[in-house]
Structure formats: C-alpha cells, structure tokens
Amino acid sequence: MTELKTLVSGAKQAPGYGLQKPSAKEESQQRTSWYLVSPLVMVLGFFLVLPIITIVIVSFWDYNDYNFFPAFVFENYAYLLTSKVTLATYLKTFKFMVLVWIFCATIGFTIAYFLAFHVRTLPMQITLFLICTVPFWTSNIIRMISWIPFLGRNGLANSALISTGVIDQPLDWLLFSDFAVVLAFVHLYCLFMVVPVFNTMMRIDKSLIEAARDAGASNLQILTNVIIPLTKPGIMIGSIFVVTLVMGDFITVRFMSGGQSASVGRVISNEIALLQYPAAAASAVVLLITVLIMIAIMMRFVDIRKEL
C-alpha cells in the first residue's frame, strides 16, 4: 500500500523527480512495511519453505539398508519414475481421488444448496450448519474405526440386510475394500466441500433467482444457468481441499482397505518405516509437484481471486 502510494505520488511529479533519493519519511515508511511483513515471512520460511528445501535436498541423498547419507544421486528419482509400482499407485490414488471428489462434490453441493436456498431463516441455517460439523468433534481415526462395527462381516449393515432378506450371505466388500476407503474419505472430507460452497451460495443475491424466474427459467434451469456458475469458485476451493487431502492421505487407505490397497501416501509412509528417507523424500517431491500441477489446472478453470 505504501509502495503504491509512493508510486502514485511519484507519477504525478515532474519527470526526473521520481529518480531522486527517497525522502527520510518515505524510507521510514518502507522500513515499517518490512517490519510488518517480517513475522509472516519468518513463520512461512521456517515452517514451510525450510522443510520443503530439506526434503528436496534429502531426496538426492543415498541410502542403504540401515543408513542414509549425504550424496547427490538421481537414483531415487530414476527408480521412482521408472517403476511400474509408482504408476500403479498413482493410478490407484487418482481413482480414489476422482471417486471421492465426485461424491463430495455431489453431496456437498446438495447439502449447501439445501442450507442456502431452502432453509429460510438465518438462525436455522447456522444451527443446521453446526450440526454438519458435529463429526469433526472427534478425531479422524475414531471416525474411521466407528465404521468397522457397522460394515464388518457380522456388522450392523450385513445383519440388517440378511434379516430383511435382501441378501443370504454377508457382503464381504463392505469393509476392507476400496468401497470402504471411498466411503470413509467421503465421510471425512465432505464438510470441506460443504463449507466453501455454502459460503459462496450465501453470497448469491436472492433477487438473481427471482430475475431468472421472471425470465421464465425452470428450477433446473435456474440451477444450471445461475446457481452452479455462480458457485463455481466455492466448488473449486472445496475441490482443492478434497484433492489435496485425498492425494496426501495414507492412514485412511491403510485402515479401511485392511492394508490391501496402495496409495502414494502409503508408499511414502512405508519408505519412512523402512528408514529409506531419501526415497521417501523423492516420492514426496514428486507428489508435491503432481498436486501443484493439479491445482494449477483447476485454477485455470475458475478465478478464485474473485472469492477472496
């Protein structure tokens, strides 16, 4: 802001004047600006930039069965990028991500739509919204574990289905399967879609919907021509949450698949467990780049800055 002011006042002055040394006052203003940004710069530098640099450095180190040591080798990347396992795990992780994204987007949009457009009073909207957050009062692990008695071979779901005569044999794909992984992901991360979508929807001027109705739009046409286009930034923010969370997850996949499914996060976690830190670091760098590319692609579609 100060810089901007300096620029503007400089532009107004006669040519050549702006080249003169800044006055003492301007200098002190600039110094104040630096002081103001320094805490944030330090926090981000220490907790974000530094760890990432460390990981990048370690990813070029070498390791053997019991130790790892400084070096500058490309072996970690070479192995990672040529291995068939990498491709398979990435494909598996993408599959989870796409499924979870589809379900979270559909369910999250529907919940947000209901809250924003069908619940009429603000207190009721806030109440229902808070109810949506109730699952977040417990930890991820507990929420995952609580599915086990429900989905297990002799769990509630199977016994209910058998007793109503829908099935004869218990369904064994309910737990420790890809189905269970996706279900748990959707359960865990749906709210990350609801919140930004609800937030954008609340900002849609209700008279726009009346204007659309006045122009003869049906409810479906209002949804596709007015509400969805205007909610896009919220959907995109929610999608970034869901995508990054699913791409980086390792615990949900391990728990809910019973150790039978792989994901990129699990690979990294296994490598760490085997003390193959340089390999884990290389995997992490590749994952980070993949996720950043995905976010960059998503940002191409929607201008999120309008939301901020």
Binding site: L208, E210, A212, A217
Partner: protein, 325 residues
C-alpha cells in the same frame, strides 16, 4: 393492450397485513406510480403482480385472464429489480438474451434480438462487457433491455431510480417516460419519491398502511389530496385545523403579508429557506401549528422578512380543500 385489475388483493405475513384487500384498475398503456412510505405495501403489491409473492386472497386479472396463481413468466409481466439483479457471470448481451435462452431459442437468433433491445436502450457498444464493468445508469439500461425482451404487456419497476445519483435520476426519469410512450405498454413503478411520481405518472396511487389512500392523475392528487396523509406525503401543502375540520392549502397559495388584513392569521417567522426560484418561509402560528409558505424569490426579496418577525397569512377560499377525517 391489456388492463390490469386488482380485486380485493391481500397479502399477509403471519399476523401482519402487508396489503389489505386493495381494489384497483390500471388502464392499459399508462404509466402508473405506486407511491408511499416504506412498509406501506407498495412493493408487496408490485411483487404480487409480478408473481414473486403469493397472493393470500383476492385476484389479479390481466387482460381478461386470472393470473393470480400463474408463474411470473406466464403472466405477460416483466420486472425490473431495485438493484437491477443482472447476472454477474454473464455478459451484457447474454443477460438480455437470458429469457430467450431459457425458451431454447438458438444462440445467433437470441443474440440478434438482444442486440435490438440493447440498441433501444443505447447500450449496443457494451454488449460484451460484464455487469461489474458498467456504471449504475448503464446497468439499469441493461436491466431494462432484459425485462423488455420478453415483450411484456406490463413492465414492473421496483424503485428503479433509487440507486442512482440525483443528476442521473432525473435523466433516467425522462428516458423511462419516453420509453413508455414509444412502446405503448403499461409501466407500474414503485417509488417513495413524490417528485418522481409527479413527474412520471399518468396515474398516482398513494398507499399507506396496506391500503390505497388515493389514486388519480398527478394534478388531481397534488391539487386535491383527500386525506391529511396524502396532503403531507405529496408535500407542498399546509394542513390546517379549522372549526369545520381539517383543510389543506398549497404552500404557494398562502399569501404572506407584513400588515394585518381581514381574516388573516398571525404567525411568527421561524425559518427562511432559499431554494432558488422560490423561498420557503416556515412560521409558527398558535394554535394552528407550523405552516410553510412558498414565495417566489423576486416577490420575497422585494420585501424581505426576517426570522422572528410576525407576519399575516391568508388564502382564497377556493384554494382550501377539505380533508377526510
């Protein structure tokens, strides 16, 4: 051309009566203004006509059809919203073409039609802009074009000028009236500004407390207000308590003199306001209360009066109108 008739049209929200069984017939091809203070029911009335508010009881007849329960787009009305309600994600031309898109008219055809309407409101150069890049006056023209593309027989305007600055307001006011004349359709315009209503309307409908207080041509309403509320709301009137009830006298029909004449009442000058072509003198006369006299500036300054002086007020009998209690 189709006339619009309200028959005992009522709107209640729970226990609150917003519009209380009003009856009115809007002639076709006229410019009508619903005038009243906020909360008088004028907006609810407009929204019921538009179909954006359900009618609690009573009927709305448009061109011989009962449209009370029809959806907005099936009525032959179009509404222009107070904040214009342009779709922020669509360009100006797509905003105007919106209703045709909903009908499934193909793109080149609906865009051509939208362009015609943009030409009508002189906005064709801005066709590819988005609404955020337009000024308030320009947004209003786009909103107008978007409402008119449906070829309504009645255009409903909800306080269309209130978001504009005073200069633009007067300019748009003239354009609205010109547009209504050239299109020959009915405009129903909600406003709380009596100036706007007097300048625009063929018929003014003054509303207060959920009912119509008075309706008629601007000169009728202004010259013969039938209640104290109308006289005060339309402005330019003194309401005076006499032995036979309340009367209204226009402020510019009251004579103010320094010397006492027969029948004149004395009053102390409290304030003198210079308004350009006229001067408003506020006086206090016991027991009749505060009165205002408008004097043309040249008359006033020939014989100026000071605050605190006593003056004498009189008026012709024919200028006094009896008000209903």
């Amino acid at each position: 051309m189709s006339a619009l008739e309200l028959i005992a049209t009522t709107k209640t929200y729970g226990d609150i009566i917003a519009v209380d069984a009003i009856d009115h017939k809007f002639a076709s091809g006229t410019y009508s203004c619903l005038l009243g203070p906020s909360g008088c029911g004028k907006s609810s009335t407009l929204r019921m006509i538009a179909g954006h508010e359900t009618v609690t009881s009573g009927d709305i007849i448009l061109g011989g059809t009962n449209v009370t329960d029809l959806p907005p787009a099936a009525r032959g009305t179009a509404m222009m919203f107070q904040n214009y309600a342009l779709f922020p994600h669509l360009s100006v031309i797509d905003n105007v073409a919106f209703s045709q898109k909903m009908q499934g008219i193909e793109k080149t055809k609906r865009r051509a039609r939208a362009m015609e309407l943009l030409e009508l409101v002189d906005m064709q150069e801005y066709a590819e802009r988005i609404p955020d890049q337009l000024s308030g006056g320009q947004q209003q023209r786009v909103a107008l074009a978007r409402a008119l593309i449906t070829e309504p027989s009645i255009l409903l305007l909800d306080e269309p000028l209130s978001a504009l600055d005073p200069f633009l307001r007067i300019k748009m006011r003239t354009e609205l009236k010109k547009l209504q004349r050239s299109l020959g359709i009915s405009f129903i315009h909600v406003t709380h500004s009596q100036d706007e209503a007097l300048a625009l309307a063929d018929e003014i409908i003054v509303m207060n407390n959920a009912v119509i207080e008075q309706s008629g041509s601007p000169s009728e309403v202004f010259n013969r207000p039938n209640s104290e509320f109308v006289a005060k709301f339309i402005g330019g009137h003194n309401v005076i308590q006499t032995d036979t009830g309340k009367i209204a006298v226009r402020t510019d029909r009251v004579k103010i003199q320094k010397s006492k004449s027969k029948g004149a009442i004395s009053a102390a000058i409290q304030d003198v306001e210079f308004l350009g072509s006229t001067v408003n003198v506020t006086l206090n006369s016991d027991p009749k209360g505060e009165m205002v006299v408008s004097v043309s500036d040249n008359v006033f300054y020939e014989n100026p009066m000071e605050i605190g002086e006593t003056a004498f007020l009189s008026w012709n009998k024919k200028d006094a109108h009896k008000l209903a209690e």
